[in-house]
């Protein structure tokens, strides 16, 4: 996913962000960033945008009307700014159930790298399926 300034501004406005470093490139640069920084949770968008997560869940036979996001974790290794292109590689690392299968948990681990092949973040998602 190419990290675009317009998209970052749209995201910032939508979440009510008022700090100018997220919308004004001059303010971002004055704060030491190369360009507008992607807010902490924005990188989650890359994989969703590609549609691969939902496709994978459908392929696993999961009814998308029955899913909830249970947990989300991020570790940050390097900044992600407008102008970067990030690549997300994910795998399903665990599946378990509770309440005799009434709830199933799908654990997905992802690594995020930038256009230089540098790891910039890791993500873990726990998706809950209400059977």
């Amino acid at each position: 996913m190419e990290i675009e300034k317009g998209r970052l501004r749209f995201f910032a406005r939508t979440i009510g962000e008022t700090d100018p470093i997220y919308t004004d490139e001059a303010a971002a640069k004055a704060a030491g960033y190369r360009s507008l920084p992607a807010p902490p949770t924005f990188i989650f968008a890359a994989e969703l945008e590609a549609g691969t997560v939902l496709d994978a869940l459908r392929a696993m036979g999961v009814n998308l009307g029955r899913i909830l996001h249970g947990e989300q974790q991020f570790t940050y290794l390097a900044p992600v700014c407008a102008g970067d292109t990030i690549t997300v590689a994910s795998q399903i690392s665990d599946i378990y159930d509770k309440k005799n299968g009434a709830l199933e948990f799908i654990v997905k681990d992802s690594t995020v790298t930038n256009q230089h092949g540098m790891p910039v973040a890791t993500m873990r998602s726990v998706i809950v399926v209400r059977n």
């Binding site: 939508t14 979440i15 807010p39 924005f42 969703l48 900044p79």
Partner: protein, 139 residues
């Protein structure tokens, strides 16, 4: 821009709280577009009802994004090393969410100064919706 000094922070210090406007359908639609989360449960009442929900409801990641604002409003994002959240309750339409947080740990290790904070998003009835934790490495 957030500026913070390790030496003046104490365990128990609160982060400046953030209260959001009541959740409405417009914000859900905009967030679906901005975040790339096009799951219909959050934007299409017909899809929500087919899934047995009374109405559309808030994205967990919208709640987490607002907790992210709380964090980066307190300390610079460049110092943020990790951010975890558990979505413990559904944010319903018209909920007024307040994001709060406090410092729970300070520690120096290998010349780095770490501060851990605990954050939560709660509605106007005091019901907890999202619980999180973040780690900052300060200079």
């Amino acid at each position: 821009m957030a500026v913070i000094d390790y030496d003046t922070i104490s365990v128990g210090d609160p982060l400046p709280p953030l209260t959001l406007p009541a959740l409405d359908r417009t914000r859900l639609a905009l967030f679906a577009g901005a975040s790339g989360d096009h799951v219909p449960l959050h934007i299409d009442i017909d899809a929500a009802r087919r899934a047995g929900m009374p109405d559309v409801f808030g994205h967990g990641m919208l709640s987490m994004a607002c907790l992210g604002r709380l964090l980066t409003g307190w300390a610079p994002q460049s110092a943020l090393r990790s951010f975890d959240a558990r979505f413990v309750g559904i944010t319903h339409l018209h909920n007024v969410i307040t994001c709060t947080g406090k410092v729970i740990e300070k520690r120096e290790q290998d010349g780095q100064k770490f501060v851990r904070v605990d954050v939560q998003a709660t509605n106007q009835h005091g019901e907890k919706k999202t619980l999180g934790e973040a780690l900052f490495a300060l200079a």
